[in-house]
């Protein structure tokens, strides 16, 4: 199957007082139709920046100096999103790909009723009679298991955090996009609300067949919701594979370290260890592998050259000079 999104050697830079900072450094991956891809990693590894860059939603200080984001439209035409002009982009967003931002509290307009926010979104893309609009809004709200009669006339402050998150997901579905990008879709929600949102995203993807990319620091969420997982570190994807590859047979020391720090409610009490140190400053990356200062497998050659993604199994790549020695010690 042809990928719906092909990212090639994408770089993102932010202008700062101390000079440009490269937050994403040469990222390539494919997203296939109906697939769910998780971007995981610690704060500051570039995962949110990458998510924003895919839909050209970077803040003003951000730019994409190189790379391609090739998107296959419904009509089969492939466009480089980085080359779209403002008007093309405006039409692209929501109808081809939509974003659900982190912090649902802040992404709804507090002065507009849900009905009006939905109407504005639709009218920006197509003309629709009021009755059809009402039906569409009711329909997407039911899809996210909300009561349209209660939610449509409500202002955001009248809804709980979980309901707001559902409204945002409902809005992202209004124009039936092919791709959904979700940034930390369950962070800051209660545990049972989180699990309801996860179940709902599962069902919606079954029903509607969109592909999704979600950004999360929550590894268990990736285990539940992803088909494939990309671990990011210092602005790069350093391991990419099927969800079972990543959770059962990770081959990058950083992925292994992350998994070793996740507590679980099932099973015996594991010995959890943190990864020593913190992520490097993107302003002054160490030479060679950026994970080297924190890595228990590091050897002299790690300082010489930054490793690139190499295949270690079917559909599984990792960027480590010593991946043949890396094992997950968890049972």
């Amino acid at each position: 199957m042809e990928p719906i999104l092909s990212v090639r050697d994408l770089a993102v830079e932010y202008r700062t007082a101390t000079g440009p900072v490269r937050a994403v450094r040469g990222v390539s991956f494919d997203l296939h139709p109906h697939e769910s891809l998780a971007l995981i990693g610690e704060s500051g590894c570039g995962k949110t920046t990458l998510g924003l860059a895919l839909l050209r939603l970077l803040p003003k200080l951000g730019s994409t100096p190189s790379g391609e984001v090739l998107y296959r439209r419904r009509d089969g035409e492939v466009v480089d999103l980085l080359k779209l002009d403002r008007e093309q982009l405006r039409r692209f967003r929501w109808s081809e790909a939509a974003m659900v931002f982190q912090g649902s509290m802040n992404s709804l307009n507090p002065l507009l009723r849900v009905r009006d926010q939905m109407r504005d979104t639709v009218l920006a893309h197509r003309r629709m009679p009021a009755a059809a609009m009402q039906r569409l809004a009711e329909d997407v709200l039911r899809k996210v298991q909300l009561d349209p009669g209660r939610v449509l006339p409500a202002f955001p402050h009248e809804l709980s955090g979980g309901m707001k998150q559902r409204v945002l997901i409902a809005m992202s579905l209004l124009l039936e996009p092919q791709v959904l990008v979700l940034d930390e879709p369950t962070t800051a929600l209660d545990i049972r609300t989180q699990s309801a949102i996860v179940d709902m995203l599962h069902d919606l993807r079954e029903q509607l067949g969109f592909a999704m990319i979600f950004v999360s620091h929550d590894l268990p969420l990736a285990a539940e919701l992803a088909d494939r997982v990309a671990t990011m570190y210092a602005g790069r994807i350093i391991e990419l594979g099927g969800v079972r590859d990543i959770f059962y047979r990770p081959r990058h020391p950083y992925t292994v370290g992350l998994l070793g720090a996740v507590p679980s409610v099932v099973g015996d009490l594991p010995e959890l260890a943190s990864i020593p140190g913190g992520p490097p400053s993107l302003l002054s990356l160490p030479p060679g592998c950026p994970f080297r200062p924190r890595c228990g497998y590091a050897q002299d050659d790690c300082a010489a050259a930054e490793p690139t993604l190499l295949g270690v199994g079917a559909g599984h790549t990792t960027a480590c000079h010593h991946s043949d020695q890396v094992v997950l010690s968890r049972v």
Partner: protein, 272 residues
């Protein structure tokens, strides 16, 4: 069984709001022994933070009593009250909000030391501050004394908050979602620091979290109480609450927690 350090006996707290009386904490009884861990688990609005504030002497309960080392906390006066304030320390969720942004780390740590007469002069305060920073793994400590909160990462800020809690030699630390804003790996390293404080210094912990997996990790050798709508619906030794929950609500919470295991997650999802 040793004498309990702190006992909450049938405490309730009622907030009066425009829409009527809201019983945030409803006849909660808890007890914690010296050097042990009690995890208080619940969702937003379950009353866990109000319970913690009552235990810390910050919110007077509408009814019920809190006894610390046998004395009724809300009747303490003078030196006895000061002693209680020293013995019980609170670590908040967000160190960015709980640390004074215009104080460097040294002054943050020196203020309580001086206020309580535990350090005479700058030199003594400095030595103690360095000790405390090493205690929470901020090394080399000299590098941190002159830093301001905005110059530290989230994990480092929370360690400073822990060091500050340690300044007065507490017997009980109340950690209210103190690790929930941190990344996985940093969260575990902070929990490991807290665990060491418990073992080395014999500090007891009231550990508040919405995440049963964290309660399991931090409180395995202690007890866990699950709160729902202001009430403790289940409490017992942590392994029992986690592995053999008795209350429907605890079961629902456990079932909702995602597990870092794709096959198991899919099996759980397939279950009706």
């Amino acid at each position: 069984m040793s004498e309990p350090l702190i006992v909450l006996d049938q405490v309730s707290h009622v907030f009066t709001t425009r829409s009527g009386q809201h019983r945030a904490v409803d006849e909660v009884s808890l007890s914690l022994e010296p050097g042990k861990v009690l995890c208080l688990v619940g969702e937003s609005g379950s009353g866990k933070t109000t319970t913690a504030r009552i235990a810390a002497g910050l919110t007077r309960p509408t009814s019920g009593t809190v006894r610390f080392q046998g004395a009724d906390v809300y009747r303490l006066t003078g030196d006895a009250f000061t002693g209680f304030r020293r013995a019980v320390q609170y670590i908040h969720q967000d160190p960015y909000a709980s640390l004074n942004p215009v104080r460097d780390v040294f002054r943050t740590l020196a203020a309580p030391l001086r206020r309580h007469g535990l350090a005479r002069g700058g030199q003594q305060a400095r030595e103690r501050a360095l000790e405390l920073l090493s205690e929470v793994d901020l090394t080399p400590p000299e590098n941190f004394l002159t830093k301001y909160p905005h110059q530290l990462s989230g994990g480092q800020r929370q360690r400073v908050a822990v060091a500050r809690a340690l300044t007065l030699g507490p017997r009980l630390i109340i950690a209210d979602e103190s690790t929930s804003m941190l990344d996985v790996s940093i969260r575990i390293s902070l929990l490991n620091v807290l665990q060491r404080l418990r073992d080395d210094l014999g500090v007891a912990f009231l550990f508040i979290t919405h995440d049963l997996a964290l309660a399991k990790y931090f409180g395995w050798h202690g007890t866990t109480a699950v709160m729902h709508q202001g009430r403790v619906v289940e409490s017992g030794p942590t392994p029992q609450v986690i592995n053999d929950p008795a209350h429907e609500y605890t079961k629902a919470l456990l079932a909702a927690i995602p597990v870092p295991d794709p096959d198991l997650a899919r099996r759980r999802a397939a279950r009706p």
